[in-house]
Amino acid sequence: MPETRTMAAGQSVRPIALGRRITDHVMTGVAILTVVLVLVPLFAIFAYLVYRGVGSINWAFLTQTPKPVGEAGGGMANAIVGSAFILALASILGVPLGVGAGIYLAEFGRNRFGDVIRFTADVLNGVPSIVIGIVAYSIVVLSQKHFSALAGGVALAIMMIPTITRTTEEMLLLVPQALREAAYGLGIPRWRTTISITLRTATSGVITGIMLAFARVAGETAPLLFTAFGNQFWNLRANQPTAALPLQIFNYAISPYDEWHRQAWAGALVLIILIVTAVAAVRFAVRRGTFGAA
């Protein structure tokens, strides 16, 4: 083919047609535009949250219970404590089960049955939170005959378990097999190896997974609507209705009173700050702890 050869030799690389170049630039522009469009609501939400929230948080808000409609002042102290209480109940129920199931999947679940549990956990992760609320209502509230903090805790625990299970499994699988074999070689029983070597090595990852699950359920409102139900007063008994921060925010947000709207914003800011500090504090403690021990 002499013709093609002369063309290749004589001509330099043919420039890309103008139309195609324009399309390329336009599409780059479109991609940048999508990023901007997505980030605008994010910053708008945070900016507005700080703007409305900071002015409304004061000492009374953090230390008092709600005042009746029309009276100024009052706060969400009981809801903040109630949320912490419900979350503690949820963690006590959900963390051991979730970590245990994760250990099962990583150490014993490399088979068909393990796949079934894995898939179930993934599917469970997508069940709407309001449906989990119905189930907690049917199991706990109907048997106790009234709304309770425990029912809220059960609902949130059910939501935490699949996330904790899958992250624990993933973290344990990252631990090198050689480490387990070294422990077996020393004659350490398998259960002891799993707890003292594998789980210990993966501690910070497992805790991160737990905090991820915790942060996810800490802001949940829907499953608490008819389990914890809410309360205008202090309560720290597991079998009584209990106030929770997200519930209080919801009730105040849809109310027609300006004073309550103001408090809803303050509550939302406090909720986000509490979630972020809880997550950061635990991660910091874990990092210090594991380095200190090692």
């Binding site: 390329d24 949250l49 245990g100 014993f108 599917v123 709407p128 119905i134 049917s138 029983p189 259960w191």
Partner: protein, 346 residues
């Protein structure tokens, strides 16, 4: 015992008397004695495996419990109304006439509206972060987008009530009705509280899910695929379209369906802006009602067994739909990220 530091191979054997004697002698001997404590490893291992199995079974038990409770408690409504429950338009608790059609309609319309808005944006963000932006920006950008996923639903709702809804009623809805009013989708009074508001807030909430999965899938596409297309003389966009997006189709679809699953079940933010009226209207400016929000609003006030049972049946339907949607999405994402080559050769 000639060499006390070597553990005996038979750990299950009965503890020899000699080992207790040398117990105080050397650390090595101590170890050996510890390891020879008869039988403990076998029992401990079995007990441990059993305990962990119980935890694993708990995951299955929870799903079973959810199904069992929902079926059990919705039986009354199922027997009273049968399939007509899902076709009926009336929602009249006083006369105990229940039809779930308006809620199903509201859930579907708000979710698809959300997908319509979220999918192009999420894919755009994923493409930009994996293919276009400077490496330095990648980390922060995906961090910011995922931060959207960390905001609690009720905070989205709060923001929507006080910022998005006024914005819609003052600017966006009047504009839409003057330009696109002729389609019939954008007519009526621009109150802000509407199906449109629900769709927009849902879109903002599901963008991080879709975009993070799309990003994961795009990163799985082999680098030489990109290089090959570029070597053929493609521009960057042509490379992305032909070499990357086309290969990542299945995975991106999985992400979209996962986002749909989240949108279908999302409760609080939607409840706060959709208007909560069980009506079917063509206009997106009209208020609506979704399956999740009718549960949120009416469940704790439901009087009468039939009413409660009808609500739980809505919960059951919502559960089944999200299960199917999620299972489908998981399978799609699994096939792409597990068999990495499957996508490249398709």
């Amino acid at each position: 015992m000639a060499i006390p530091s070597l553990p005996r191979p038979n750990m299950r054997g009965p503890q020899p008397v000699e080992s207790t004697k040398v117990n105080d002698a050397t650390p090595a001997a101590k170890h050996s004695a510890y390891l020879q404590q008869g039988g403990s490893a076998e029992v401990g291992d079995r007990a441990f495996k059993f305990l962990m199995l119980v935890c694993g079974l708990a995951v299955l038990a929870i799903l079973f419990l959810i199904v069992y409770q929902l079926v059990l408690r919705s039986a009354l409504s199922w027997h009273s109304f049968g399939f007509k429950f899902f076709a009926g338009h009336d929602w009249d608790p006083v006369n105990e006439r229940f039809g779930a059609m308006p809620f199903i309609y509201g859930t579907l319309v708000s979710s698809f509206l959300a997908l319509l808005i979220a999918v192009p944006l999420a894919i755009g963000v994923a493409v930009f972060t994996t293919e276009m932006c400077p490496v330095k920006l990648r980390g922060p950008l995906s961090f910011f987008v995922e931060l959207l996923a960390a905001i609690p639903s009720v905070v989205y709702g709060l923001w929507a009530i006080f910022v998005l809804v006024p914005l819609l009623s003052n600017y966006i809805e009047p504009f839409l009705s003057s330009t696109l009013g002729w389609t019939g989708f954008f007519t009526g009074a621009p109150y802000g509280i509407s199906m449109l508001a629900a769709g927009i807030i849902l879109a903002i909430m599901i963008i991080p899910i879709i975009s993070s999965i799309a990003r994961e899938v795009l990163m799985v596409v082999p680098q030489h695929q990109r290089e090959g297309v570029l070597a053929l003389g493609a521009t960057r966009w042509e490379m992305i379209r032909v070499g990357v997006l086309r290969n990542a189709r299945a995975g991106i679809m999985g992400g979209i369906i996962l986002g749909l699953g989240r949108a279908l079940g999302e409760t609080m933010a939607v409840t706060m802006v959709i208007g909560n009226r069980p009506e079917i209207a063509k206009s997106l400016f009209a208020p609506g009602y979704t399956m999740a929000s009718v549960l949120a609003n009416e469940f704790s006030e439901a009087t009468g067994d039939v009413y409660l049972s009808a609500l739980i049946e809505i919960g059951l339907a919502l559960f089944l739909v999200t299960i199917v949607v999620n299972a489908l999405a998981r399978l799609l994402v699994w096939t792409v990220t597990r068999g990495q080559s499957a996508g490249a050769h398709a």
